[in-house]
Every structure is written in C-alpha cells, then in structure tokens.
C-alpha cells in the first residue's frame, strides 16, 4: 500500500495484529476509511470485528501495526480511550449501553461536546446554546417524548437510538457503530438505516453488521473480515459473488 495515500485517509489501519493466548484475533489487518465515507463491515463470528473496534478506540493495544487517524495526524495506538473519543471517534456498542439511572436528557447532556476535564465539569451550567443543541438532537433521534424518562425504562430500539444520539452529541468525525439493528423490528431496522444515512451526510461512519438486508439497504462499500484479516472488499453484490466469501460466510 502506498504510504503517500495515508495522509488522505480519515482512518488508516495497516498490518494490525492482536493475539490473545496464541489465538490471533486480528492478523495483518489493513483498512482505509476516507473522509465522509460510510463503510459496512461484515464477517462471521470471531472474524475480529469487535477486536478491530477495540483497537481503534484504544481499548486494546495491537501487538503490531499502525492505526492512524485524521490523515495520519494521530497515532491511535498511543492514546487512551478518553483522548481518542475527544479527537472525534465515537463508538456505539453491540449491546446498547446507556446510563440507565440518568434521564434521556442527562444521557445526551453528558455526551454533548464540552470540556471533559474535572473542574470545568464541576462548574458547568446549563446554557441556552446547550439547550438548542439538545433540542436538535431530540429531533434527530425522535425521543422528545421520553426526555425526562430514566434511560433504563426505554425499549431496546429506543436505547439503540439514544446511543446513536449520544454519538451524535459528541459530534465525532468518525462513528463506529456495532450491530445497530440487532433485535430490532423490520420497521425499526429500516428507520435506523435511514438515520445512519442522514448522519453520514455530515459524519464518516463504520457500521459492523450481520444483517445482510440492512447492509444492502445502506448501499455502501462492504468489507468482509475473516479470521482477523480482510477477505474481500467491494459493493454488496461484488462480495456476495465472491466464492471465498460465500464459503466462509454467506454459504454456511
């Protein structure tokens, strides 16, 4: 891969390997995400999708390899989760995790872009600007009616949206979304696809998903992972036609 191209990419992974007790979760993984791009990542269980997210967000340190962000300006392997989040990478977990004992509004308020260190947070006040941002977010994720509800009381789909809302509140350059439609009804799945497309107008997005119908719905470039490295890349139709992909994933 040409080193010169790295400067263009928003996210650049090359030669990334991670092993746990001899098991190679990632094996020489290479991946490029361009600014403004939406990418779907598919792969069977154990293909390394979650580990890849862990590496990008600083939760797991790779044994070898480069993980660069924002045109090569930041080496993510040297930074911790909080710093990476502040740089502009937001992550949505596979299992929706919101702050259950906080209200929906407080969940979003915590995620809003603002100084993250201790003392400014202690002194933080509610401002009109903050309220405007919140209103905007509530409009996007359609949870206005649940504003004062404790997040623990939301339905599964609502929690997924709240979490996406929290991602948006951070206003990250790149969103990592892990299986956003798991456990959703068809209607919710469709709406989520629409929501992600809307988000993609202003943010780069990486979606990890099992649901092929959903990936088709997104209509974006697809990367197939297998045993910790990239097996195929292309449109959904191209990868579906790939014999190796059919063997390891679609044809099981």
């Amino acid at each position: 891969m040409n080193a010169g191209r790295t400067t263009d990419a928003l996210l650049y992974l090359d030669g990334v390997s991670v092993s746990f007790d001899g098991f190679k979760a990632l094996n020489q993984l290479a991946l490029l995400i361009a600014p403004g791009e939406m990418r779907a990542i598919v792969g069977p269980n154990g293909a390394g999708k979650t580990t890849m997210m862990d590496v990008i967000t600083g939760k797991t340190r790779p044994d070898t390899g480069d993980v660069l962000f924002d045109g090569g300006r930041h080496d993510l392997t040297r930074l911790d989760e909080a710093t990476i989040a502040e740089l502009g990478i937001g992550r949505k977990f596979q299992k929706p995790t919101v702050f259950e004992s906080h209200t929906v509004e407080d969940n979003l308020r915590l995620a809003l872009k603002a100084p993250r260190s201790v003392f400014p947070t202690l002194a933080a006040r509610r401002t009109a600007e903050e309220k405007a941002r919140l209103d905007e977010l509530f409009a996007t994720v359609k949870l206005d009616a649940q504003r004062r509800t404790q997040a623990g009381g939301l339905s599964h789909g609502q929690k997924q949206w709240l979490e996406i809302g929290m991602l948006l509140a951070q206003d990250p350059a790149l969103l990592l979304v892990d299986e956003p439609v798991a456990g959703m009804t068809d209607a919710e799945t469709f709406e989520t696809a629409e929501l992600l497309k809307r988000i993609n107008r202003t943010h780069s997005v990486v979606v990890v998903e099992h649901d092929m119908a959903f990936v088709r719905e997104l209509g974006v470039k697809v990367t197939v992972l297998h045993e910790g490295s990239v097996l195929a890349e292309g449109t959904i139709d191209q990868v579906s036609a790939d014999q190796r992909v059919v063997e390891v994933y679609l044809g099981r």
Partner: protein
C-alpha cells in the same frame, strides 16, 4: 448564591435532614448547659459525647456514600482516612499537654519519654500549632487517597479488587501504627488530652461546643457532597458507576473523576476523625481495623446508598442500636450486625431512604 442554588435542589427529606441537624446543633448544647439536671429537657454529658460521636460517624458515612453510592467505589479502608484525621488532631492535643504530662516534659509527649526518646520526631514538628494540625487533618488523608487513587484508578483496578486493596491498606496502616518506633504511641495510641485551643477537653461547655461543631461539620459535608452530586460532575460520577467503559468512550477521563471524588471523600472522613478524637479522648491503632471500615459500609447500606441523607441516617440508626444492644444484650450485638449485613443486601439493597424516601429526595437523589 451557592446556598440558593443548592436549596432549590433539595427534596423534602433533605430539607428535613438539614433542619434536624441544624436544630440539634443548637438545641443539644442548650439543653445540656442551661437545663438543670433531672429536668426532662436536660441532655446528660454522656449523651452529648455519644451524639457527638454519631455526628462524626454520620460524616464518615456521608463521605463513604459519596464514593460508593455515587461512583461505585466500595472503599473498605475509609476508616483509615478517619483514623489519620484523628491522629493528626490527637498529635495536636498531645503537644498542647506540655508539662502537664506524667513526666512533665515540655516538648516530648509522655510515651516518648517512656520510650527514652531524646528528640521529637520530625513528624511531630509544628503540631503544637492548631492551624498546622487542622491542615494536616485534611492533607494527610487527602494525600494518601491521592497516591492510592492515582495508582489504582490509572491501572483500572476496580470493583472487588479495589475493595480488597483498600482493606489491605488500612490493615497495613494498623500494623504500622502498632509499632512503637513509628512514633505514634504504638499500641496505646494517643490519650490523656488536656485542652483544645485553650479550652479544657473534659469541660462540659467544650463538649457541647464540640458537638455543635460536629453537627455543623456534618451539615458542611452534606452541602459539599450535595453540590458535587447535583453538578454535571455528579452526572459523570453516576455514569461511571453504571457504565464505566461507556463513560470513557464518551471522552471522560474516568480516573481523574474517581481521583477527585476519592480525595474529597477522604478529606471529609479525615475531618470526621479529627472531631471524633477530642470527644472520645483517645485514638489508637484499632481505629484502623478493617472491621471498622466495613462497619461504616453497612451504615451506608442500611440508610440507602446514593442518597447522602440515608448514609447519615444509617450511621445514627446502626450506632444507636449498637449502643443500646451492647449494653442490654452484649452477646446479641454481633448476630444483629451480621444479620443486618445479610438482610440489607438481600432484601433492602437500596436502603431505608432509597426504598421508602426516594420520592422525597431532591434532584438526582439517584435510582
């Protein structure tokens, strides 16, 4: 203005709490000093000391609730901060004894003379000055909490591991303070105090004043804790408690928040210990005993963690029961305490206030 901001957020049970503690701060000393003995309204000297102790325990419970109830850090070593604050105060009280000790040495406390020491250890320098001692009451627990927290939180030691470490710390401190050559009175600790800021420690009026101060310290501690938990930082603390990883991925440096609240809490516990020592008249290494720290945890659990008022209430209730039972049925007390631990965790996980008084708590009384 801060008062106003706070008052606006107080719920019914919190207002009641503030009113009761403030009322006690005034009424107990009055009833003790002005009412004649035998009068129905008279509060005996022994009761003043007992209530004063409870106020200190309540403050300790409050500090524990701040870290455990709101941030999920179950410290099994908060007794260490309490004891360190107590020792700092005890050292001031020892230095002020001066020539009135058994050996009449102007510089060295009795136990040092007894051990045949010639010089005051440097750790005891300046403790004859109250201002310095008061500073140490807060600094020493604060610094220990900072160092411990710095290492532990940065290495992401959480949950039971952290609990076990804090317990080991207080245990190690207990062993250390047992040693004579640590220079803190060894086994016997510090005692035989004479006066504090020129007032006789044993005097009725001093005790009444110390009670009032303890009640005020409890109020102050409550105000500080309430200000913290109802700020945006309080939101972050609860977020850490409920979903630490998520909080980190949103961009908060979890370890800094934990460190902040841990240090604040340790300082509060230190102040509680400092007020406790002149009232009970002694501080010794048994205050570091791990069992003490765990007992404080059950106060918080009984009252209701994450409610602040509940913690204070729990401390008073459990200690009132202890005072009554250890006098009436001494063998029963440990069974009751043991049962309390079991029953509260099984059947009343949110404690008294959390279960019955939640709707009377102000904003962010949590859960």
């Amino acid at each position: 203005m801060i008062v106003q901001r706070l008052a606006g957020r107080l719920g019914l049970s919190e207002l009641a709490f503030v009113a009761i503690v403030a009322g006690l701060a005034v009424l107990v000393p009055l009833a003790n000093l002005t009412m004649p003995e035998g009068s129905l309204l008279h509060v005996s000297n022994a009761s003043v000391v007992l209530f004063g102790k409870w106020m200190c325990y309540a403050l300790l419970a409050l500090s524990l609730d701040l870290v455990w109830g709101y941030c999920g850090i179950l410290s099994l070593g908060h007794g260490a901060f309490f004891a360190l604050g107590g020792y700092a105060m005890g050292m001031y009280l020892m230095r002020t004894i001066g020539t009135r000790g058994v050996y009449g040495n102007a510089l060295l406390p009795d136990f040092m003379v007894f051990l045949n020491w010639k010089e005051l250890p440097f750790t005891w320098y300046f403790f004859d000055w109250f201002g310095y001692a008061a500073l140490m009451v807060m600094l020493v627990p604060g610094i220990l909490a900072f160092v411990l927290g710095w290492f532990a939180f940065r290495s992401r030691v959480t949950g039971v591991y952290l609990s076990i470490i804090t317990q080991a710390v207080t245990y190690a401190l207990q062993l250390a303070f047992f040693r004579n050559d640590m220079g803190f009175g060894g086994n016997n600790g510090l005692t035989d105090f004479k006066d504090i800021l020129g007032f006789q420690v044993q005097a009725q009026s001093t005790r009444a004043a110390l009670f009032a101060l303890s009640a005020l310290a409890l109020l102050g501690g409550f105000a500080a804790a309430k200000a913290i938990v109802s700020s945006k930082l309080g939101l972050v603390l609860v977020a850490i408690r409920d979903a630490e990883t998520r909080t980190r991925f949103i961009g908060y440096r979890v370890e800094h928040y934990k460190l902040f609240v841990f240090v604040v809490s340790a300082v509060m516990a230190g102040i509680a210990g400092a007020l406790y020592v002149p009232q009970v008249g002694i501080i010794n290494p048994s205050e570091f005993s791990p069992a003490n720290s765990i007992e404080a945890v059950i106060w918080v659990a009984v009252g209701g963690r994450g409610t602040l008022v509940g913690a204070a209430l729990g401390a008073v209730l459990v200690n009132a029961a202890k005072t009554w039972l250890t006098a009436a049925l001494p063998t029963l007390w440990l069974f009751v305490l043991g049962a309390l631990f079991i029953l509260v965790t099984l059947f009343l996980p949110r404690g008294i206030v959390g279960t019955f008084g939640a709707k009377f708590l102000g904003r962010r009384g949590t859960k």
